[in-house]
Amino acid sequence: MSQEETNNVQVIPEDKEKTKKIWKVAAILAIVTIIEFIFAFTLPRGIILVSIFLGLTVVKAFYIVAEFMHLKHEQKALIWSIMIPTVLILWLVVALMVEGTAIFNIRY
């Protein structure tokens, strides 16, 4: 890392607003995880708790994909190219939930 190498490169100064936003998203992720933790030990186990957990997971997934992976700020065409195929995953969830119930009913 000699002086000559770094001299010709212009380092743009840090934009405090940007880094502040990154830490804000990190705080949101941490807080949602803590909420999940508290719910795991306080609420009765059941379908409602499972739904809450899945909902909070989607919230975290949104922040990671939209802000950390920057997808929210990309072109519309790119956003939809990534989001539309994930509909197939939702279909798989529904299909295998129905299948799982059927297997349970046959076995027990």
Partner: protein
Amino acid sequence: MATTATIDTTKSRWGGGVAPMNASYGKLMMWFFLLSDAFSFSALLITYGLIRYSHPAYEGTVSEFTFSTEYWPIPEMVFEAVPFLHGVHAPLIFVGIMTFILILSSVTMVLAVEAGHRMDRQGVIKWMLWTIIGGLTFLACQAWEWSHFIHGTAEGTVNAMGETIFGANLTENQYGPPLFASLFFFITGFHGFHVFSGVVINFIIFFNAVVGTYEKRGHYEMVEKTGLYWHFVDLVWVFVFTLFYLI
């Protein structure tokens, strides 16, 4: 004058000459690779859901829970050990720490990408190093957790044939049905291997930043691409955490 060709930038986005998605080839391909990887992981995780819900659930209260191969275990009773605190019941504490480590290493990765946009080589080096340390710490935690899961508790569990089983492997499992352990090894193993390859790739990028490859190239886009991969690994962990440890 009327025949002069003018380029209308709003209409010719797909007409050639510009990157229509405003992203380079490499970045686009990283996105589509991650999409296909998302399909692999969701297939595994949804299979976990299917197999779990085709087994009987534990009906009683959490405080009276005992391990049995007859029903699916409650995760907070399985994952309750913390290194150096032998015999202390600390449900989900260790995996919580692992989750925070991975989220933090994701944050340092974004900071590295941000430093790259500003051509700040020192910043990229610093934050990439933190990201690598975070990844290695996570892997070490996972190695400990696997080892504990495989060796099991001191008491063990008596199975249907009257034998006492200690720990878990691919054929028997003291915590619940054998499939529970198989899925645990397969899914966290597949994720752990992603973390491992992520650390290796991050190290290559870190090395290139140190020797000045990207400074000569004039941009730090490679940091952005590996960043996408690293965030994806974090994203998958968020789902693994919910499905394996919370539900």
